[in-house]
Amino acid sequence: MTENNPITLKLDPWHELTRFTPARIALGRAGMSLPTRACLDFQLAHALARDAVNIPLDFASLARRLSTQGYKSLTLQSQAENQAMYLQRPDLGRLLNAASLSGLQNNAAVVATDAVIVVADGLSSKAIANHAEPFLNLLLPELLQKNCKFPPVCLVKHGRVAIGDAVAEHYAARLCIVLIGERPGLSSPDSMGIYFTYKARAGKSSDAERNCISNIHPNGLSYQRALHKLMFLIDKAEKLQFSGVDLKDETTDFTEKKLQQVNFLLD
């Protein structure tokens, strides 16, 4: 496929502007339509994002990887029986199924629990497959160092954010940390989010009581920065005894490159 035949293909001379934005600009055109190359690039990105949603997470493999690192885990499932049901019934994705509830009963807390860590596939299995284990490798030692007690990591199939509430309630934990695959974007199919809720209780905690750390993936927020934010939120919530909209993330964000602040159209 040749992309330089000027008769069939018109290139956009403002191509250098692509350095200012990840947006798909200066794509050129075939007639007035999208050139073949750009068309296929889009299809590739869409295929990756679709697969992130539809390819099931290998829970056994994730449990093995955690076990290798010395961490126990429990695999649970929501009341959504399959992916189609999960997508259409967010209410069911927030509730544990009967088998999972009895599984939890058999894992009653022997000592007082401070935190629960819940990992849910959510809308991107790829996010969890790529980022959950490496992130937990940073988080769990940090929690242990703070003398924070937590039961086995709960891995939840077809889970929504609020499914963490039931787990937290079961263990009577103050800190509920949910790692979940975020709605995949075309340029970020494997983005992971962390939701933190203080004193989460099933059916009672509202979204306004949660703090979210979003966009954890190679081109987004790094594990280290995400961990920094999460530990800040945990410490602050322990002092305030609440989480949510009134608990502000006061960690400073990286400053943008100066290049991005110039508006070349006006300057």
Binding site: A23, R24, M32, F42, H46, R89
Partner: protein, 466 residues
């Protein structure tokens, strides 16, 4: 009262609200809400009963109680009985026949608009096929003005949407140049800010205003922040063209958006006082979408399409320049797949146009919906054939801030080429003057440096070598 027997089964729909929900073509959000028909037969039974309901009935049986909901009060209090007179004797089924008949000319449809309630319009849409929705919507004409004229016959406009993940001015400007050079942006140049704070909003408002001024572009700008943020920006003297807000069809849903009719009224007045339009003063821009009320748990037992149509009563109160149904953004728990998204988009366009609104459609989907570019091509083409007012223009159809797929600059050119549709006349003149389009509605090949931005792009190049 709402009773029928079909295939030896008796169907008794207790209330008009229940009947409307059961008559709605299948969509996931109504199943989620537990209001949908249990099966195909029940749906057809409901449609059969609904077709026999007199239009007048909708004035006497409020779907959400009058005392309880200010959107209902708005609908009932502002209903124009004189405009209603022509069709007041019809049932929903008769109304469909009338809409499709030769009697329903463009001027006849304009004349009845104020006599229609959202519920009447939603009801008739539920017994219409896509071709009906397209044919009737095409006869409606809604023209609005700010710095150009939108909604004229054989015109098709675009909102240029140069979003950037961090609101970087250079990033926004790069997409802006790309869009303008592809002939997009006559409906509005509208940015969704990455963060809804005053400082970011002010920065973007100034940027857009200066670009429009510098390049003398006959269009209007909008930063799609919450209405209260925009009002603060106005207080600080910011150059606000259009005031944006997401709206819904129940008071409770609007509450969850942090708005009410008084607040919108105040915002509208603030916008009018700025008087920045040159050709007209339609200064509001609203966005809606089926499922938004349910997602706020504020649907009041209504089906999502009826809820959506009630939002148009809110919109029409404030004479907007643009109303945009963001049809596939909400996700598969409300509109599961391409089929549901396509029908919803065409329903929204039809209902909005019949009520007298300048309807655009964000032809879009998310990656967890069962939809792809082919589905978008279907909706885009049908929406344009139906006489849709505007679509979005997003570089390469990929919004890198909101993480969803909308229509691209190329998509807009496809439709213009296919159906011979032109941009708003003032904007078209600007495109021709700057050698972006020729007078035959075709994009011109750009020289090494496009004339309009030649100096700017050259400066950029030089700066690199310094």
């Amino acid at each position: 009262m709402y009773k029928t027997t079909l295939a030896q089964l008796v169907y008794d729909f207790k209330t008009l609200r229940n009947l409307m929900a059961k008559a709605t073509p299948a969509r996931s959000g109504d199943y989620l809400a537990g209001v949908a028909a249990a099966n195909n037969l029940e749906r057809v039974a409901a449609q059969t009963v609904l077709a026999e309901v007199p239009l007048k009935r909708f004035l006497n049986e409020a779907l959400v109680p009058y005392e309880h909901d200010e959107v209902t009060r708005l609908i009932i209090d502002e209903h124009d009985n004189t405009a209603f007179a022509t069709i007041s004797h019809l049932t929903v089924g008769d109304f469909r026949n009338w809409l499709l008949s030769e009697q329903a000319t463009t001027s006849a449809l304009t004349a009845i608009a104020a006599g229609l309630t959202p519920e009447m319009v939603a009801a008739v849409s539920k017994i219409m096929r896509l071709q009906d929705l397209i044919l009737v919507a095409k006869k409606c004409r809604v023209i609005t003005r700010f710095r150009n004229t939108l909604g004229l016959e054989n015109r098709f406009s675009t909102r240029l949407q140069p979003n950037h993940p961090t609101d970087s001015p250079a990033g926004v400007a790069a997409s802006l140049v790309d869009g303008l050079l592809y002939g997009c942006g006559d409906a509005v140049i509208g940015i969704n800010p990455a963060s809804d704070n005053l400082e970011a909003t002010l920065r973007l408002l100034n940027l857009l205003s200066e670009v429009i001024e510098r390049y003398q572009i006959p269009t209007q700008a909008c930063v799609l922040a919450h209405v209260t943020t925009t009002m603060k920006a106005i207080e600080q003297g910011a150059p606000v063209d259009l005031i944006f807000q997401s709206i819904a069809g129940t008071q409770k849903a609007n509450d969850s958006f942090g708005i009410n009719l008084d607040l919108l009224n105040e915002a509208h007045h603030a916008g009018l006082q700025l008087n920045r339009g040159t050709l007209g003063n339609n200064c509001m821009y609203f966005e809606t979408g089926q499922g938004s009320a349910l997602s706020a748990n504020a649907h009041e037992g209504l089906d999502q399409q009826t809820c959506e149509t009630r939002a148009y009563a809110v919109a029409r109160k404030f004479k907007p320049l643009l109303v945009n149904t963001v049809v596939g953004f909400i996700g598969p728990e409300y509109l599961y797949d391409g089929k549901q998204i396509i029908r919803a988009g065409l329903e929204d366009h039809f209902c909005g146009k019949l009520l007298g609104l300048p309807m655009g459609c964000d032809v879009c989907y998310t990656n967890h919906a069962e939809a792809d570019q082919d589905d978008m091509d279907m909706l885009l083409t049908q929406f344009a054939v139906a006489g849709g007012t505007f679509i979005m223009g997003v570089p390469g159809a990929d919004d890198v801030m909101l993480n969803y797929q909308s229509t691209s600059f190329h998509d807009a050119l496809y439709v213009r080429q296919l159906l011979g549709l032109r941009p708003a006349p003032e904007f078209e003149q600007w495109l021709i003057q700057h050698k972006i389009f020729n007078s035959e509605n075709q994009l011109l090949q750009q020289p090494d440096m496009p004339l309009l931005f030649k100096q700017t792009l050259q400066n950029l190049g030089n700066a690199d070598h310094d």
